[in-house]
């Protein structure tokens, strides 16, 4: 067994189990689910196996594992060939629920975290609004204090799991200020009157995952829906986005590995001009490049995850890891399509799904440009004087 710097035998066993599960139980449906959306049982099964709470404390039904368990999960879920499943699970375990553990009351943890770990409750995260995407600080959904609770009005868009979720971790403004201050987090049951899923959005890729547009129309939520301190919402959500980015990168890298494997297989078998495609140096060298980039993306991601797991907060490097992994996954998928020629472009082969799914990586969880912006800022490039 090859144990690396970062992985123990436990991680490797988890890796084999998740891979086997993804390949046997999920992969056969990847094509069908692009049409129908993936079914809820995927959450329940993953929950039963303990894969939705790997790094959460055992007292809440979690596995008590380290941060790398989530990296392993994201890498290996990619083996199912559908980016959607991985994205939905990443939202569940890496985005919507970490603030519940970090900032929630005991009641909130029992009500939301415990069933989310079991896969009995599906979670979504509501940050993005039609007029506030990269510029999170400009969001305007407003929670007005009313006796006994809050009355919420506003609009969220591109919300993963939003159509089927049981609860939303919501970012809303609680003060009529502008900018980073005056935002708060809430835990909202999606069956609350006034929580309206107005549309299930149709997308280029990640088609097996549901993406919602949501309106809050005089939605009244109780006092204890507030998650963490009032007014700290922006900081609290930004804190957790760092970890989520590493999980997103791991998913991107896992997807790229699968794609590269399929490309290798194809170029070994497909013959033109009397020899397999891979024996053309032009193709072989490109494949060598892709393999190198995947390896580099993975190494950077592991180092960031290791730092993050050890209590460091390397924002710049995490942004680099996310930027690079997203780009590599798109590049691999694009080149795979190229070297599979017309077959790569056909819907009946999986290359097109990787090509469509991977494209999201450069947009979701912070765009390439925003990653560069963070890197440049932390490098001090914009400092005056």
């Amino acid at each position: 067994m090859s144990l690396s710097l970062f992985f123990t035998e436990e991680h490797e066993m988890l890796r084999r189990s998740v891979r086997e599960f993804a390949e046997k139980e999920l992969a056969p449906h990847a094509e069908e689910w692009d049409e129908t959306g993936f079914p809820d049982w995927v959450f329940t099964r993953l929950g039963e196996l303990g894969y939705l709470g790997l790094h959460y404390p055992e007292e809440y039904g979690g596995g008590g594992g380290d941060y790398f368990t989530n990296i392993v999960l994201a890498e290996e879920l990619s083996r199912c060939g559908s980016g959607s499943v991985n994205m939905a699970v990443a939202v569940q375990v890496g985005m919507a629920t970490p603030p519940v553990l970090a900032f929630g009351t005991e009641e909130q943890k029992q009500k939301y975290l415990v069933p989310a770990i079991k896969g009995e409750k599906i979670a979504c995260l509501g940050i993005t609004e039609p007029n506030a995407g990269s510029d999170v600080a400009s969001l305007t959904t407003f929670a007005e204090k009313v006796p006994g609770g809050w009355k919420v009005n506003g609009n969220k868009i591109f919300i993963t799991n939003g159509v089927r979720a049981h609860f939303m971790t919501l970012v809303a403004r609680t003060e009529k200020t502008k900018g980073y201050k005056g935002m708060s987090l809430f835990l909202v049951d999606t069956d609350t009157p006034g929580f309206v899923v107005s549309r299930k959005l149709d997308k280029v890729g990640m088609k097996a995952s549901d993406t919602a547009e949501i309106f809050f129309e005089d939605m009244v939520i109780p006092d204890d829906a507030l998650l963490g301190d009032e007014g700290r919402g922006f900081y609290n959500i930004m804190w957790e986005l760092q970890g989520e980015r590493l999980i997103g990168s791991a998913a991107a890298i896992g997807g790229a590995r699968l794609c590269l494997e399929q490309l290798l297989e194809y170029t070994k078998e497909r013959e033109q001009f009397g020899k397999p495609l891979c024996r053309n140096q032009a193709i072989a060298h490109r494949i060598a490049d892709l393999a190198t980039k995947i390896e580099a993306a993975e190494a950077l991601n592991y180092i960031c995850a290791w730092k993050y797991d050890n209590g460091e907060y390397p924002v710049k490097e995490i942004s680099m890891a996310k930027l690079f992994a997203a780009q590599v996954s798109c590049e691999v998928a694009d080149e795979a399509m190229q070297f599979m020629g017309g077959y790569g472009y056909m819907m009946e082969y999986p290359a097109q799904r990787a090509w469509r799914d991977s494209r999201l990586m450069r947009i979701g969880g912070g765009t390439d440009e925003i990653m560069r912006e963070i890197i440049a800022t932390t490098m001090g490039l914009y400092a005056k004087g």
């Binding site: 067994m1 035998e9 066993m13 988890l14 084999r16 189990s17 039963e48 303990g50 790997l54 008590g64």
Partner: protein
């Protein structure tokens, strides 16, 4: 009811090219991935399901080097209780009979009602270990087991053996017994993270030939009935006849040949 399940780590050759190594007596495994033998995975599941239904203990045994720990631990993660690994240079070159001698010696120290093995292995494919093991232990045995029902408080089992053409032969036998499990008897589970964490903490007892009380004459080539001389790639048959032409033409020719040889 107490059970032993024997597992083997084997190379996955289903999707790879297989090359004979320099010795001529093995295959080059450097590029192959390894995992639990497929039938053994079903044997593990069957043992664990019976334990969950009836109580008892499941001991996992594997003959192999340190790398076999990975398949042992996975069986523990799925619900196995204890583990023994048999490792000794003396075991090198063992055929099915010599392997069965080592396994038989190992189960002597364990309380058991059923020993499960896979029906056959993906690498050697002799399908002889469960038979040899049953003989050496002097207990009833059945192979290609695709159905298992425990009766009379574990004193008896009813076993369905998969025969050619989808036939199922039903036999009853008393315990203790040895069962060679066929794929498809159940649906092997995936290890939960909880199970994985517990398995990582469990101890695997290592036993050498002398720990098992085996003489050199029982082990390896000396203890074997069959000796492997050499692997050769199948010769591309001179008997092969390639039919040429359009599909309807070739289909007609093929039907003619099959009829002529009395094969249909």
């Amino acid at each position: 009811m107490n059970m032993v399940v024997c597992v083997k780590r084997v190379p996955d050759t289903s999707e790879s090219e297989v090359h004979i190594d320099g010795s001529g007596k093995g295959i080059d495994t450097s590029r192959l991935s390894f995992g639990i033998n497929e039938c053994d995975n079903y044997a593990v599941e069957e043992a664990i399901q019976k334990k969950e239904a009836l109580g008892g203990n499941v001991t996992v045994i594997s003959l192999g080097d340190k790398q076999s720990d990975e398949v042992i631990r996975m069986a523990l993660a799925k619900g196995g209780d204890d583990a023994i690994r048999l490792e000794d240079e003396a075991f090198a070159g063992s055929d099915a009979v010599a392997v069965a001698k080592a396994l038989a010696a190992a189960v002597k120290d364990v309380e058991w009602d059923i020993v499960f093995t896979g029906a056959l292995t993906d690498d050697d494919g002799y399908a002889a270990v469960p038979v040899a093991l049953g003989e050496i232990l002097g207990v009833p045995f059945a192979t290609y087991v695709k159905k298992l029902e425990v009766m009379d408080d574990g004193k008896k089992v009813k076993v369905g053996r998969e025969l050619e053409g989808g036939l199922m032969e039903m036999v009853e036998m008393t315990t203790p017994c040895v069962l060679g499990i066929q794929t498809g008897i159940n649906e092997p589970r995936y290890a939960s993270f909880k199970g994985i964490k517990q398995a990582a903490r469990k101890e695997i007892t290592i036993k050498s030939a002398s720990d098992l009380g085996l003489d050199a004459s029982d082990c390896g080539e000396a203890g074997s009935w069959a000796a492997l001389e050499q692997f050769t790639p199948p010769v591309v048959g001179e008997m092969a006849e390639i039919l040429e032409g359009e599909p309807d033409e070739t289909a007609g020719k093929l039907a003619g040949i099959l009829k002529e040889k009395g094969l249909v």
